[in-house]
Amino acid sequence: MTRAATRTALRKAAILAALLAAWEAWTRLGEVSPLLFPPASTVLAAFGRSLANGEVPGYAAQSLQVLLTGMALGSALALVLTTLAVSTRLGAEFLETLTSMFNPLPAIALMPLSLLWFGLGVQSLIFVIVHSVLWPMSLNTYTGFVTVPPTLRRVGQNFGLSGWRLVQGILLPAAFPYILSGLKIGWAFAWRTIIAAEMVFGVAGSQGGLGWFIYQNRFEMNTDLVFAGLLTVILIGLLVENLIFRWIERRTVQRWGMSAGH
């Protein structure tokens, strides 16, 4: 880390510590009801307890499993759509129409329909996750494909590659920076969507992951556990974005000296 980066990190840690201290002081001195806003120390203790007894990790694993299934399905579908879009004009127009229609639609808005079609179960969740991942992934992958330098495409053809072998050997890796940023956006959408969607399960009284954990604990007035659940959502989000995606970027796009145009 450079000195400037270290100083920034230190300053951010100080801001975080100050916020926690203010939170603690306000709830204790102001005698705020712990049922509405428990002190930071209580929340951290509850977080530690639910980590130790495996409750929060279990629910988080459940959420992540559904999310990853949805993301895998959504990405595969995006690949099919974009392959069609780069090979035929009709495919391109099809993709453009669908993405402009569905991209502005929040995935969670489809939850009622999803429940109607798939019932109270994992399939309903996967359906909305697929929807939240598919469109940003398709848009990015498509942009990646069409911005592959024509020279690279010709190099591949020169090696005798065509069809799927050209896609897999040249276009996919050449479009990888865009695909990766599509995955990042897809992850961000999907993570927010799954937490929200699981709350609908809370409403319906069925079982779900972290979202359900939060909802259920609110129902039982375990406000400290509600906060612990929120903390987990934040931590996992940060972990995936700053550790996992950063790690992938360092090993791929950065090492190759490739970067997407955004």
């Binding site: 330098p149 690279l152 053809q157 020169n158 040249i170 890796p173 050449a174 090492r255 000296g257």
Partner: protein
């Protein structure tokens, strides 16, 4: 020396926003086995378009284009192109992997043999020490050398070079031209070379086809006894002759 590439009465036209554009019209020439053949002309004369058609990237509207008597229909590893653009290397592969990859997919060589061949050709262009580097870590001249090594490793019937040194600085360009001559001496690979530089054409081409623009037509095909030497009396004479032909 038999005829390797036959181009007979070829016309190339493609659609643009302003209607059909005829890039090349009624062009005929033949390239013999082991020959260095240069297409020379000002920009817009269709020389690159001709090379792209030989490579199989572009269909011809009329005429015939044959490699060893077989019609050229699509791109293939028997005619490997070295492009002008530096981005012709696969950025996600190391220098070595860039040379190995086509040997595996186009020639179907087993991994150890592909690797051994790639290393040999990288050594030939003096880049064996950079085998583990990624393309973005190389200079422009080094990238072009990797591209040349990659093309030669495929052992094509013909090497097609589309102004490969045009984006390099003057000193590097001179050095690359000399290296190319040395490589040609060692491999005797048939070469079709496109350039707009008279110097380069006279240095490299055993024969020089001078194209006139709009649409590209053959102005003359010159024999060049001065190929391979820079600044000799003979070279200067050919340069003057080319200039006269271009000025007509």
């Amino acid at each position: 020396m038999g005829e390797l590439l036959g181009v007979r009465d070829v016309t190339i036209a493609y659609p643009t926003e302003h209607g059909t554009f005829t890039a090349v019209e009624g062009v005929s020439f033949a390239v013999a086995e082991g020959e260095k053949f240069v297409l020379l002309g000002p920009s817009g004369c269709g020389k690159s378009t001709l090379l792209k058609a030989v490579a199989g990237f572009m269909p011809i509207a009329a005429g015939a284009m044959e490699l060893e008597g077989r019609r050229i229909a699509r791109p293939g590893p028997d005619r490997v192109v070295v492009f002008q653009e530096f981005d012709q290397l696969l950025p996600w592969k190391t220098v070595l992997a860039n040379v190995v990859y086509p040997l595996r997919v186009a020639r179907g060589l087993p991994a150890p043999r592909a690797r051994e061949t790639a290393e040999r050709f990288l050594a030939m262009v003096g880049l064996d020490r950079f085998a583990a580097s990624y393309p973005h870590q190389l200079s422009g001249g080094m990238k072009q050398r990797v591209a040349i090594a990659r093309s030669l490793a495929l052992d094509p019937r013909m090497l097609l070079m589309d102004e490969p040194f045009a984006s390099l600085d003057a000193l590097t360009r001179r050095k690359m031209q000399e290296e190319l001559l040395a490589i040609w001496e060692a491999t005797r690979k048939t070469l079709l070379f496109v350039t707009h530089s008279i110097d380069e054409a006279v240095l490299l081409g055993d024969r020089i086809l001078v194209l006139s623009p709009g649409p590209g037509r053959v102005r003359r095909i010159l024999d060049n006894p001065a190929a391979g030497a820079r600044g000799t009396e003979a070279a200067l004479a050919v340069q003057r002759e080319v200039q006269t032909v271009l000025g007509q």
